[in-house]
């Protein structure tokens, strides 16, 4: 009994100090675990006091702002905290979030595709490759990639809906605008499981503000899930000292292999 009282007291003291010590991007108690705060908008100096190169924003030989490079992004596992307030759910959207339980089925733990939003908010870097007519995202997360045309063509409505959606891009002055639709609706926007439907329309804006940074803005427009568009801003930091590494999700995924992580019934999720 004595030990139990001591333990209980110590737990209270330590848990209190732990909560106080939590930075905004430390693991949270919400749906999926890690949470992100408003500060998630800046990758900033990075670990170890990294300082990105300084100078004006470079241009490509063909005259547009150069987005090429390996970029460190802020980890955004919780877009609600990054939003600074509650998300504007529709009734359907609120139900999707309230009934989400990763313990009953975790699609990313099962190595199914993260989807574009969750891959853009992951903590590992991304490489952007830019040509006059196309752009590619090389996500280190699970070694995925996305290639999109930036030659002025429109979305092809005949494409099959996909995990990462169908993207097209165009220049609006010095800003590259990437427009993505045709999602299959099987993914979540972030690690905490904030939902979206197959009506999601993502609009991303990439502006090379100087040699070391990209200003990134993402808009989630999904009238089935949210009553108004959600707009968030982040800063990407150039990492010429990094390279994209191979990332096999399947190789040593012990939680899934040994049955502790469940594969969700993702194809029927959200149909109710």
């Amino acid at each position: 009994m004595k030990y139990r009282l001591m333990l209980a007291g110590a737990v209270c003291l330590a848990f209190g100090s732990w909560i106080v010590a939590q930075p905004q991007d430390a693991p949270g108690a919400a749906k999926g675990g890690p949470g992100a705060g408003k500060g998630a908008g800046k990758a900033g100096k990075g670990r170890g006091g990294y300082q990105p190169p300084e100078g004006p924003a470079p241009k490509t030989p063909w005259g547009v702002l150069d987005l090429n490079g390996v970029w460190q992004r802020p980890y955004v596992p919780d877009i609600e905290r990054a939003n600074g307030g509650p998300l504007p759910y529709t009734e359907w959207g609120k139900k999707q979030f309230d009934t989400y339980n990763a313990e009953e089925g975790d699609y990313t733990g099962s190595c199914l595709p993260f989807g574009h939003s969750r891959a853009m908010g992951s903590p590992d870097p991304i490489q952007i490759m830019l040509t006059p007519n196309s752009m590619a995202f090389l996500y280190e997360q699970n070694s995925w990639f996305k290639v999109l045309p930036i030659d002025g063509r429109a979305h092809n409505p005949k494409k099959v809906p996909t995990w990462f959606g169908d993207s097209i891009g165009h220049w609006d002055g010095d800003t590259m605008v990437v427009d993505t639709t045709n999602f299959n609706g099987f993914t979540r926007l972030d690690t905490n499981g904030h939902p979206h439907s197959n009506q999601l329309h993502m609009i991303e804006k990439f502006t090379r503000t100087d040699l070391g940074h990209i200003a990134y803005q993402v808009t989630y427009d999904d009238p089935k899930t949210y009553t108004k568009p959600i707009v968030q801003n982040r800063t990407f930091t150039l990492r010429p000292d990094w390279e994209i590494q191979e990332y096999s999700c399947e190789e040593n995924n012990k939680g899934l292999i040994e049955g502790r992580i469940k594969v969700p019934d993702y194809q029927n999720a959200g149909k109710q």
Partner: protein
């Protein structure tokens, strides 16, 4: 009081930091309300994506050995934080702080691993020093 708690003391001072979990939702497998601290001997480090795993022998109250296995972050992220698969070696005496699995015995998710000198030798939340 569970005898196992003598060898496996509840760790009370989890520190904050940017977690390097991204591959899956932590809540799918681990319980953040159940921190654990293990003192034991390294038997294996499996340095492969999406998560490295650390294996330790931990003495229990009966004088026997409990075999523990704990998930780490991705080798990619830990490499960028300054850790390598040579940061520890089999036989090292280590102190591991983490959280318990919801679904398995002697399984946890690691936050930090320290050597006998208190130096962090592996971590999901800190860079190598």
């Amino acid at each position: 009081m569970n005898k196992r708690l003598i060898g496996v003391t509840i760790f009370l001072g989890l520190t904050g930091g940017t977690s390097l979990w991204a591959h899956h939702s932590l809540a799918a497998e681990f319980d953040q309300k159940k921190p654990v601290s293990l003192t034991g001997t390294l038997t294996k480090l499996d340095w492969r994506n999406p998560h490295a795993w650390i294996y330790m022998d931990v003495k229990n109250a009966s004088g026997g050995i409990d075999k523990w296995e704990c998930e780490l972050g991705s080798p990619n992220a830990m490499t960028r934080a300054g850790f390598t698969q040579d940061s520890v070696k089999v036989g090292d005496e280590l102190v591991l702080d983490g959280i318990l699995s919801k679904k398995g015995t002697n399984i946890c998710s690691t936050r930090t691993v320290k050597g006998k000198d208190g130096r962090t030798v592996l971590s999901q939340t800190e860079g190598a020093k």
